[in-house]
Symmetry: D2
Amino acid sequence: MLFTSDNWAGVHPAIMQAITEANDGSVPAYGNDALSKRVTAKFEEIFEHECHVFFASTGGAANGLALSQLVPPYGGTFCHEVSHVQMDECGTPEFYSGGAKLLTLPGKDAKLTAAAVEEGMRFYTPPMTHHVIPKAVSLTQVTEAGTAYTPDEVGAIGAVARRHNLKVHMDGARFSNAIATLGCAPADVTWRAGVDVLCFGATKNGALCAEAVVFFDKAHTEEFAWRHKRAGHVWSKARFMAAQWKAFLSNDLWLDLAGNANAMANRLGEKLGAMPGFTIAHPVQANEVFLTFPDGVAQKLLDQGAQFYDWVYPGDTWNGKLKRLVTNYRTTEQEVDRFIDLAAECTG
Amino acid sequence: MLFTSDNWAGVHPAIMQAITEANDGSVPAYGNDALSKRVTAKFEEIFEHECHVFFASTGGAANGLALSQLVPPYGGTFCHEVSHVQMDECGTPEFYSGGAKLLTLPGKDAKLTAAAVEEGMRFYTPPMTHHVIPKAVSLTQVTEAGTAYTPDEVGAIGAVARRHNLKVHMDGARFSNAIATLGCAPADVTWRAGVDVLCFGATKNGALCAEAVVFFDKAHTEEFAWRHKRAGHVWSKARFMAAQWKAFLSNDLWLDLAGNANAMANRLGEKLGAMPGFTIAHPVQANEVFLTFPDGVAQKLLDQGAQFYDWVYPGDTWNGKLKRLVTNYRTTEQEVDRFIDLAAECTG
Amino acid sequence: MLFTSDNWAGVHPAIMQAITEANDGSVPAYGNDALSKRVTAKFEEIFEHECHVFFASTGGAANGLALSQLVPPYGGTFCHEVSHVQMDECGTPEFYSGGAKLLTLPGKDAKLTAAAVEEGMRFYTPPMTHHVIPKAVSLTQVTEAGTAYTPDEVGAIGAVARRHNLKVHMDGARFSNAIATLGCAPADVTWRAGVDVLCFGATKNGALCAEAVVFFDKAHTEEFAWRHKRAGHVWSKARFMAAQWKAFLSNDLWLDLAGNANAMANRLGEKLGAMPGFTIAHPVQANEVFLTFPDGVAQKLLDQGAQFYDWVYPGDTWNGKLKRLVTNYRTTEQEVDRFIDLAAECTG
Amino acid sequence: MLFTSDNWAGVHPAIMQAITEANDGSVPAYGNDALSKRVTAKFEEIFEHECHVFFASTGGAANGLALSQLVPPYGGTFCHEVSHVQMDECGTPEFYSGGAKLLTLPGKDAKLTAAAVEEGMRFYTPPMTHHVIPKAVSLTQVTEAGTAYTPDEVGAIGAVARRHNLKVHMDGARFSNAIATLGCAPADVTWRAGVDVLCFGATKNGALCAEAVVFFDKAHTEEFAWRHKRAGHVWSKARFMAAQWKAFLSNDLWLDLAGNANAMANRLGEKLGAMPGFTIAHPVQANEVFLTFPDGVAQKLLDQGAQFYDWVYPGDTWNGKLKRLVTNYRTTEQEVDRFIDLAAECTG
């Protein structure tokens, strides 16, 4: 009954096998090996578009690198007030960009809207030197509330962004979960909807350590390789990064793994939501369930071995009631049902 | 009828005279002249405490320098969501600190409260590496809404700050106006109330170009001189900075000048506030009046030569109605009364 | 007998008068006053070219700002190994640029040569991500050794720079002294010779506090105003900066003042150089004389009230012998001759 | 005949096995798993001292992080003029530290000496605000010339460093090769000799991706975890980093692997050095041979399938003659001898 975080799970066997297979012989370092050179084609196949791909060890680094390319130090990035880049990366975007500001906006279920971005631009229009110049919008797909932006929602934000010369960044640590739930083409919520750069994460869905910064337009990558190197994020034995991606993106593995995690969260959400006194806080669209339990029940569940975290936002008058349940690529129906049964027991 | 900004006024004659008098002979550069060495004593006399004083050309630089000394790049500073450091310095604190975050808090009349800081700390307690570590609270005295923190208010915030190992920074671009309105000892709203560093501005009250970073404890200034130099804020002909301060702080000039500005704003606020359809948005405690005019009146006033600005905050559903009137050290009763008469005329 | 530094002298009367005259009435802040708007024309007249001018309080800030505009954080700037930007600004260029590297090159009399820059590029050609990308060359005019680059020398470096896509920055803290000694048009050692941005200093030649970043091409100034503001270098009462420049650049004042300083150094150099045991270390071309005295003489001179500094470079096996004598705009023949007489006396 | 770089080799089987074994079950993320918690003990056993260990994906990141902890933005780090931190990390130390300067010193065979550091301090003594404050010395062990600092050499530098309040950083990307060649206790060239932090690399000696920042004193690690996180270098699935280290440091694997690489380089160096017209440029002490071949021989070797690189330093009047041969943990005698035979053939 492990619902703490999707990165507690290990590496999927197919990905581990790809890593061990990549260990054959001596090959050039720093991405000049054949596997590294070929892996971009995998991205291009999935996104139906040219892709300019750079790897990173963590989602924080990927986001920081991508934003530092789009936003100068005197610029700003609109993001949701509880987004991961704003709340959970210890200031990584500020570090990478040399102090560019995150400009927070509100929004239901942790989602930005086109209207919110439009309204946000008002204060910065026309540009004045007293204020930073907004240069980007950052979307988290899926959001910190476990919700997914639809192609239409991203497209509407993309249109506002273009009108105001803002680039669009997508933090896709759980991008697989988004595509698995939306059922759309990856292109539909990325470049077709105006996204300029996607930080695509594999680690939360079964990789060992694999994040990718995917630019859809070469124009945005000029000299990005130098930022990448200078941040210390270029693996010398790059083949082991490429191998993970090759396995992850082959045979729909990424969608199957995310699909399982989503299905398990959905099962949790539906059943718990139907139980008296359990309140689901946000629509369950991916692999996270945010909820409040009846009084005393959460503690009883923890006492009996279930594992999950409290969830709190700054500015909440925090009462300790909101909890987050996260499922992963190998969460089983048995595990979910055991938790539900136990929850029913603790409540009854 | 000039109510745009207090830095449109020129230099007070006594300060200009001090500048010209300082131009006698050749003296050591970079603050090693006799005048520069003596001016600290003026600060210590006024603050009744040891002072470690460094000068800057702008309030933005002073704030950025001071905060960079108190807050590491992975740290955070609590400030009001409409404070000058957050809204109007184009990211100066982020630049100087290497990307430390400003952690915004709400508060009536642009004031932080001890309770808001206490609540703000909750999310950051205990410290987790996913979040920056709060290291400081920044207060603006007087605030962006023209209100002044009382000694008790600062003291309460100072107490919360000490409990959480936060240093207290005061942005005092209009510190003179605050003291003139509060009538307290400068010490009462600074070191006695827990303030560690004051950025004290003279420019808005009659100086040519004179801001000071005043540390009350030598422990906070270790190697600060290097930050100061490296930012390019050490005037080679430092005597002309010192001369301004000497004149400003002598014979209560600073309080007299701020006192006039305050009195004129008070006169504006009282009379306009009593007129039907005029709404004063914040208590008038210093040299700024925020108000809404009856429909059409603001434009008529502008058409007839009055000068003042619209005022807007991000997040406002902005309707263009809020205006700011700023008085200065040489605003006259005649100027104020002419504006009031004209306002009455435009309304009638 | 004051030969310590040219910034020990006070403000020239004509400049002080311009400051006091500018103090008439209330005018818009932050450079929107009439005087600030007109002063650019003065620069354009002198440089016979469009100029995009931004002011700063110190030469360090001017250099840091200019370089941060030309060089990204992963870039590099070639400069002489004893240049002011490398040795004497406590890392200002690194601070402003977010950590871009200075790439030092050797050269006689503190001068870079076209050949040295060409050779310097070799290591960085073709660009590799292990190395920063050179983006600029920085020249100091006059150099730290008191020598001046001729139009041909600058032109040759400018040509190499263009071939390698390097921008050319000129640190002109003593640019007036250079023009006074070279007798050429200011254009000849700046834009005509390939210089993209000049940091032009007035402070060392009689201003109170006045440095200017002068871009010769609008293409290089895009959004520079935001860097300028964010660094805290935009004076609110900008008219007092503009006034200094207007006076400095009018009626050839800048050339007259620098001309006097140069003449006095020349007098010192010629006479001292002719005395047995005195060795002039670099050609005296501006207002600085670097020399070694016969044993014991320097101390005797200091004991009798002469003022000057030891001079040392890192890497020197320092023996305490090299001294620097700096003249300024109001150094007199009497002062120079008194020093020479005294030197002769101490030697005899 | 692969002598390009030691990171072209794959992962040693024992390390790959440790990775796959670590993939058992679900464990806490971000280093809170049992394996991560236990691995520090391995370091402490080897160094006979308390160790505070943080991991990174690359040596550049490790060095940047470590130096940013020891050196403030206005500080400087002495390093050799051809050291990796200075020449080959695209400005990583400057990025991580917010622009602190590297202060380069010369030295034979890419080694700093105590005398060079002592001399280097002269320019910075006493501290002046025009100059950065030296705060650290960085040593590369083994150096960029393939030479190893002896315990006495490090100790002498450590003593000078302590006298000047400099911390000592060791870039140990090839630390294993150093210990294998020196035959001393790891403590003898680190904490016992005054080293404060070691960046210990395993990747070049058989790991997949494993670098460690090892502080020997808790006093230097205060809040380092926040720098680490904010740089995006904390792996979520940290167990796979710990597993590599556990295997690497067990059963002397690290010394055996480095020992083989060293022996092969030694064999290359001895035999080639004895051949007429071959000149060894630096003593062969670890796994690198720097040499010049007789005219035309290098090209012939490359044509016949040998792989190695040109080597050049900035400032060299580069003639394309210096070559670098690097051996690795799985280079064989056969491979070495084949190269030597071929070299003889090409020469004859």
